[in-house]
């Protein structure tokens, strides 16, 4: 791979800094997201009208609808939004660090590390230990995987492409262990593990939302604080160093943010692949590649993707409640292939 700096791609990108376009687009996305959340709140297996939902939200008193809205739908919707944004930001960070549009938490082994740990948890403890420890073990798996990738890719320094390749190799090994665990555990546990691996928001609770929120609140501002360094690194390591950026330290901080976000998202919602891949691409096309505007837009788009995937899974195949991951990859994968085809002549 060549390390020629990728210059700003179109004239639009440069002019965009002088116009409020990114701000307007992000504001529009916020509105769309809020409207979608309202839509999702009023749809479900139990028929509710929009008025009833608004009433239940405003006056939370013990009716059935209040219970459905407050305890079943709202936490699930909020978790979808949080998980989607976390995955999208994690992807945006990784694509920036690696300077490659194909990088994502899935490709680099973070997701498979979390998945392996979670499936190991299900296979080893099964029903013995409380399911609430599952996120903790998944998060631990993600961190271990990222640390291993870093360690094995270290060779007197760090090149992004070596990190990607090592991540791919490790993912394969961890995927093999996951399969092994599924094969040796009994059928029920295996199916639970499989649904979890595909990515599902089924039975999300308030404590999941509260468990997910701190990770976003900590990691997103931290990665935004590195935005200028990230933009400098996009021009190549040497250019960034010339501009006074401590490339290794910035890369480590950003990597840590990405791992924390992806790990937490996988921990609470399972392996929702392709969100981290496609959300940053869509965001970049809307607001350009400056990291500080890319992150909020990517987060909003990731939230929208997961929200609608979950909504589809909830209401489109009633009475079945299908995992959101099926729809995310069903739409995400072909879209990703299309993106790849479009960007094929760029210098990556």
């Amino acid at each position: 791979m060549t390390h020629t700096p990728s210059l700003p791609q179109t004239g639009n990108d440069i002019t965009a800094t002088h116009t409020p376009r990114p701000v307007i687009i992000s504001a529009l996305l916020v509105l769309v997201l809020l409207a979608s959340m309202g839509l999702s709140l009023s749809l479900g297996s139990f028929p509710t009208s929009f008025d009833q939902v608004v009433h239940a939200l405003a006056v939370p008193q013990g009716s059935d609808i209040t219970f459905i809205v407050w305890e079943l739908r709202l936490p699930r919707i909020l978790l979808a939004v949080l998980v989607g944004s976390a995955l999208a930001v994690a992807g945006a960070i990784l694509q920036g660090i690696v300077r490659n549009p194909l990088a994502s938490p899935d490709v680099i082994g973070i997701t498979s590390g979390a998945a392996m740990a979670a499936v190991a948890f299900l296979a080893l403890f099964g029903t013995g230990l409380s399911i609430h420890w599952l996120p903790a073990s998944a998060l631990l798996g993600a961190l271990l995987a990222a640390a291993l990738v870093f360690l094995l890719a270290w060779k007197g320094g760090m090149t992004p492409s070596r990190m990607v390749l090592v991540g791919i190799g490790l993912s394969a090994a961890m995927g093999a262990v996951t399969t092994l665990l599924i094969v040796v555990s009994d059928d029920t546990a295996a199916m639970v593990a499989y649904v979890w691996l595909t990515g599902s928001l089924y039975a999300a609770q308030w404590q999941d939302v509260l468990g997910m929120l701190p990770w976003l609140l900590a990691a997103v501002p931290l990665c935004l604080s590195q935005a200028r360094h990230m933009d400098a690194m996009a021009l190549g390591d040497q250019v960034a160093q010339g501009l006074g950026v401590n490339v290794l330290r910035s890369r480590l901080v950003l990597m840590a943010c990405s791992v924390a976000l992806a790990g937490a998202a996988v921990a609470f919602a399972g392996g929702l692949s392709f969100v981290g891949l496609i959300a940053p691409h869509i965001a970049a096309r809307l607001v350009g590649r400056g990291f500080a505007r890319l992150v909020p837009a990517a987060a909003l788009i990731g939230a929208l993707i997961v929200l609608y995937a979950d909504l589809l899974g909830r209401v489109a195949f009633l009475p079945k409640d299908l995992p959101a991951g099926i729809f995310v990859s069903g739409v995400g994968a072909p879209f990703f292939v299309y993106l790849l085809h479009r960007t094929r002549y760029q210098n990556h």
Partner: protein
């Protein structure tokens, strides 16, 4: 490295001995150990009343034959892919060919009334073709060159796509859980010998085509210009070699599911021993690939005994350290 013609021939003969030994181990070792005389007896005078004979003929023998066939095919396919892309990390597993074939097989089995490998091998071939076209299309640069990192990433993305589609299908249609898991994990067990026979023409045809193209493959390694200079067409050569890869990988997946890393590791081992000349490299790949998969299959019986571990898990565990070694060594 074996430079002399004599030492190379000796090396290949040793390879034959290795395959034979691995084959014997595969037939004899397992939950029930079988003595060599019993094996010979079972082949010569099959007695359906004896348990050992039934185990040999319905379980062990097909398993060993499939492992040898699939191992050899994947290794040759990997070697050809590494030559064509000039990328040491290329292989049917990494570049998504296996995943494409697997997804189409899963569709054929769960949605269409196709049940034996002879029926759905066409689906596997189509899937392999689709995946190969996708990866080539996605990783080609402006001048038709394949950027090494991009080709790997495109392969991984295509693999992720097909695997997640298969998983989705699995969750919607839980009836096919067992069988889909079989293809996802890669396994050489639970097949009968009669099922393998209709697929032999595919393997045979691919090997024949491969033999005819050995010199072209050698020229390709030196660069497209050399191919042209020798009066061959680089495009046609690549297309035909691609056809060989698709036939080998597709038929392998139809028989045994997704088995990764054999196609990646074996060509490197064979190249280290026999050099880059395809006249020696490809037979060496076939012998080493067959031995590796046979031995991995034997090991998979003991890893978590008495449970059988899918052999694809075994090859991934063996192959990953090697992949990481290659990734670290490569100047990228």
């Amino acid at each position: 490295m074996l430079n002399q013609r004599v030492s190379r021939i000796a090396g290949l003969l040793l390879g034959v001995v290795l395959v034979t030994a691995a084959f014997a181990a595969s037939v004899m070792l397992g939950t029930t150990d079988i003595a060599p005389p019993t094996f010979v007896q079972a082949l010569v005078h099959y007695d359906p009343a004896r348990v050992a004979h039934i185990i040999i003929v319905t379980e062990r023998l097909p398993r060993a034959v499939i492992a040898a066939l699939v191992g050899a095919s994947l290794a040759i396919a990997g070697a050809l892919m590494q030559t064509m892309t000039r990328n040491p990390l290329a292989s049917p597993g990494i570049l998504g060919i296996n995943a494409g074939a697997m997804f189409f097989v899963v569709i054929a089995v769960s949605l269409l009334p196709l049940h034996t490998p002879a029926e759905y091998v066409w689906a596997a071939l189509l899937g392999a073709l689709v995946a190969a076209c996708l990866v080539v299309m996605l990783s080609r640069g402006r001048h038709g060159e394949l950027s090494p990192l991009r080709v790997v990433l495109a392969g991984v993305a295509v693999t992720a796509m097909f695997v997640s589609f298969s998983q989705g299908l699995l969750i919607i249609d839980q009836q096919s859980f067992e069988s889909v898991l079989y293809w996802l994990a890669g396994s050489v067990s639970g097949r009968e010998l009669s099922i393998v026979v209709p697929l032999l023409p595919f393997f045979g045809g691919a090997l024949l085509l491969c033999m005819l193209l050995v010199r072209h493959a050698n020229a390709l390694m030196l660069g497209d210009d050399i191919v042209k200079g020798l009066g061959m067409r680089a495009g046609t050569t690549k297309l035909l070699l691609g056809l060989v890869v698709i036939l080998l990988a597709g038929s392998s997946v139809a028989l045994a599911g997704m088995i990764g890393f054999v196609g990646l590791i074996v060509p490197h081992m064979a190249r280290g021993l026999f050099g880059v000349d395809h006249r020696w490299l490809l037979p060496a790949c076939a012998l080493l690939g067959a031995s590796l998969l046979l031995l991995a299959d034997v090991a998979s019986r003991f890893l978590m005994a008495p449970q059988d571990v899918p052999v694809g898990v075994m090859t991934a565990l063996i192959g990953t350290p090697f992949f990481i070694y290659l990734a670290r060594r490569k100047q990228v």
